[in-house]
Homo-oligomer: 408 residues x 2
C-alpha cells in the first residue's frame, strides 16, 4: 500500500499497539508430526488465538525466503523489495552511529591473513568485543580520510565493524572483498557488473574501498589475529519515511540483538538500550516504557536461533518460555496485541524459509474466527486468511481506530 | 487489474448478471455471539451460499475503511485509490444533472446564519425538498455566472444542493467553507495546503467560490431559514471509463438513494428512476427491466443504516426481509447472481469498517465449496478466499462466460 495514502488516513488517539515478532516463528512438522509451535504447550498463546483473529502473512511474496532485514521492513509497512537495505547499513544502524543521508556504509570483518596472502581465518579467531573495539580505535586513530573523502569507523560486535564514507557522491553497487573461503586471496572491491557501462560513482567507491583496505593492512600488520579486514554489504544510507511521523504515534523498539534494533532505528522508532538480553529483561523494558509510547515493537530472537540450529525441542521450549510471559503483556491491556514472526525458520531446514508466517491480532474490534489454538494448522481456519507482510501494519492501525474513513 | 486488459478479453453473450450490494453487510459478533448476518434466519441466502462459491473481498485493501464512493467504485472494477471521487461530484451525479468533463462541482449545504455572522444551523432547520428546490431556483434565477465563469445549480435533497462551475480551467483541491460546528463563523474557501506553491487553478477556483458565497448571501438575505450556504467536497468531474463499453453489456442500476445512483451513473450505467423506495419497489423494477439488460446492480441501503445506528436486531430484520425477496431474484434465473456488500458496517462500531465483506457468487460455472450457510464465520471455508473488491467484476464476467481466453 502506498505509504503517503496510508499516512493520509492516520489519526491520533490514545490506543496502545504491541507488535511481538517471534523471529522465525513458523515451522514444518517435526518428529511428532507437529511443528514446534503446535507441539509446544502454550495456554496463553492459545487463549489469544481464541480471542483474536488469525491467519498468515507472506514476508515478501509467495515462495520468497527473506533475510531479517526485508522481513522486518515489510512488517513495518515498507515495501521490502523497493526498500532493500544492505548489510553495511543494517549492521551499522544497530549501533549508536548517526548516519547522514548519502553515507556509503560497508560491513568490515576482521580476518587473519597468512604469509602467502591468503585468508587464514575469516573471523580473526573470533576476537572478543574488547579486542575488536581496540582494533577499530587503532584504525580510526590512523585513518580518517581516504583520498580526500571522510572515513568513519564503528565497532559492531566481536570481529565485526563498519566503515562509512561520507561527503562524496558514491554508489553502493559494489562486490564484496570477502572470498567466502579460507585459503583464498581476498578479492578487490569492484563495481557489480550488470552489462551496463561502469557507473563512475561505483568506480570511485571501489577505488576508495581498495585504498582503505590497503592502508588498513599497513596499520594492522603487527596484530597477531586481526591483521587484515574484508569489506562486504556496501550500501548507501537512504532514510526510510519516518514511522512515527507517518502514523502519528510514539513508537519504540525493544530487542536484544543489534540488527533488529538497527532496522527499527532506520524506520525512526526510538530504540531502547538498557543492555537487555533475556525475554524477562525485554518484558520489563516494555512495562517500563509503556506509558510514554503508543506502538511497541518487541523482538524475540531465540525462536529463530533454535530453528537455525535444527533444534526442534529447543524451539518448542523457547516458545513455551515466551508463552509463560504473555500474562505480563496482557496485563498491560494493549488495545491491539499482534503476535507473529518475521519469517518462518523450520528446524527441518535449519534456515529461514518462504512458508507463510502465523499471524494473530487481538483487539476488541477484531472479527472472531474459529481458531482455538495458536499454530500453523489451526490458523488455516483463521479470519485473516493470508495477507502480505505489508498489510499487517494497516491492519494494526485499523484495529486501533487509528485510520479514518477513506473517501465519501 | 488493468481495465484495458480486462476489456480486451470481454465478449458479448446472452448471459444475465446480477450484482446485489447489501450496503454495510459484514459485521462483528453481537450480544448473541453471532453477527447480524449469522443471527438472521435466511433460508434463501443459505441455499445460495450452499449452491455458490463464497468468500470475502477487501473494499480497498486490508485495514482500509472506505466511504460508499470508493467501496462501489472498487466493486465496479475501478481502482478506488486512483479514482477517488469527491462528494461534490458524487452527490451531483445522483441527480439528473448532466456533467461535462472538467466541471468543478461542490456540494452546497443551506444553513442559517445568525446576526453575529456565526452558523446557527448547519442544515437550515432541515428544510423540506420543496423548500430546498425553491431556494435553488431563486438562486439560479439571480446567479448564472461568477466573474465570467458559468455557474450551474442543482438541488439534491432537502437542504443539500450542488454548484457546478463550467468552462474554466479550475482545480478541486480546495478546503470546505463549512466550519463543521454551529456557533462558528463560516470559513473562506482556500486551496488545500500541501507544502507546494499554490496552484493557480485552485487559487482561481477559491476566488470564484468565495465570490459565489458572498453573492448568494445577498440573494438569500430575506430567507427565514436558508439565508446562507456552505460549500464542501469540491471535485473536478473526470469521466470514468464507461462500464457498458468496457464489458460490452447493457448495464443498469436499481437503487433508492441518490449517492448509489450517482456512482452507477458515473460508471456509465443506466440509472432507473421510478421513485423506488422500498426493497419491493426495487425488486419490481429489476423484474421490469430484466429483458433489456445484461448486468443489473441492485443496491439495498437499510443494512448499512441499521449498522450505523448500532441496531443489531434491526440489521437482522433487514437481512431477513431481503432474504424473503430472494425467490423473486432467483425466479428470473440469472446466469450469475452475486450477493455481497460494499463494506462492513458492524453494529458494534456504528460505522463503516475495514473488515472483509462476505461475498457469494452463484453460477452454474462456480466451483463448489463447503459453505452451508450465509455468514462471516461460514464463509471462512469458502472457495473464493479473500480477494480485493476490484477482483469481483472479473469474476462475474468469467462466471458469465464473458471473458475469452487470454493468449494462446
Amino acid at each position: 500500500m502506498d505509504l503517503d495514502f496510508l499516512s493520509s488516513l492516520a489519526i491520533q488517539n490514545d490506543s496502545k499497539v504491541v507488535l511481538v515478532v517471534m523471529d522465525g516463528l513458523g515451522g514444518l512438522a517435526g518428529p511428532t508430526g507437529k511443528t514446534s509451535l503446535e507441539g509446544a504447550r502454550t495456554p496463553n498463546l492459545d487463549a489469544l488465538a481464541k480471542k483474536g483473529v488469525c491467519g498468515f502473512h507472506d514476508p515478501v511474496g509467495p515462495g520468497i525466503t527473506p533475510g531479517s532485514g526485508p522481513a522486518h521492513i515489510g512488517l513495518f509497512g515498507y515495501d521490502p523489495i523497493e526498500r532493500l537495505i544492505g548489510r553495511g547499513v543494517l549492521d551499522t544502524a544497530g549501533t549508536p552511529f548517526e548516519f547522514m543521508p548519502g553515507d556509503l556504509a560497508s560491513r568490515l570483518n576482521f580476518a587473519t591473513l597468512a604469509a602467502d596472502g591468503t585468508i587464514a581465518d575469516r573471523r580473526a579467531g573470533r576476537i572478543s568485543d574488547e579486542e575488536g573495539l581496540r582494533v577499530v580505535k587503532k584504525l580510526a586513530g590512523r585513518i580518517s580520510e581516504i583520498d580526500g573523502v571522510e572515513l568513519l569507523l564503528q565497532h559492531v560486535k566481536e570481529y565485526r565493524a563498519a566503515a562509512i564514507f561520507r561527503g562524496a557522491k558514491l554508489s553502493g553497487k559494489l562486490c564484496d572483498s570477502d572470498p567466502q573461503q579460507v585459503g583464498k586471496k581476498p578479492l578487490s572491491v569492484a563495481p557489480i557488473e550488470d552489462g551496463q557501462a561502469p557507473d563512475p560513482e561505483a568506480v570511485r567507491a571501489a577505488e576508495l574501498a581498495n585504498m582503505f583496505i590497503e592502508q588498513a593492512r599497513g596499520v594492522l600488520a603487527d596484530e597477531p589475529r586481526a591483521n587484515f579486514l574484508m569489506m562486504r554489504g556496501f550500501d548507501i544510507y537512504d532514510p526510510l519515511p519516518n514511522f512515527c511521523k507517518l502514523y502519528k504515534w510514539r513508537a519504540a523498539a525493544v530487542a536484544s540483538y543489534p540488527m533488529y534494533k538497527g532496522v527499527a532505528r532506520l524506520a525512526g522508532m526510538k530504540v531502547i538500550e538498557e543492555g537487555q538480553q533475556s525475554m524477562e529483561d525485554e518484558l520489563a523494558l516494555v512495562e517500563k516504557i509503556w506509558a510514554e509510547h503508543d506502538f511497541i515493537f518487541l523482538h524475540i530472537k531465540k525462536t529463530d536461533s533454535k530453528g537455525e540450529d535444527g533444534d526442534y525441542q529447543g524451539k518448542m521450549e523457547v516458545i513455551e518460555h515466551f508463552d509463560s510471559l504473555i500474562p505480563r503483556l496482557v496485563a498491560l491491556n494493549p488495545d491491539v496485541l499482534c503476535l507473529t514472526g518475521d519469517h518462518s525458520t523450520p528446524c527441518a531446514l535449519k534456515s529461514h524459509s518462504w512458508h507463510p508466517v502465523p499471524l494473530c491480532i487481538v483487539a476488541a474490534t477484531a472479527r472472531r474466527d474459529a481458531c482455538q489454538s495458536f499454530g500453523e494448522m489451526s490458523f488455516l481456519a483463521g479470519g485473516l486468511g493470508r495477507v502480505n507482510s505489508t498489510d499487517v501494519l494497516p491492519l494494526l492501525l485499523a484495529h486501533a481506530g487509528r485510520l479514518r474513513k477513506y473517501g465519501a
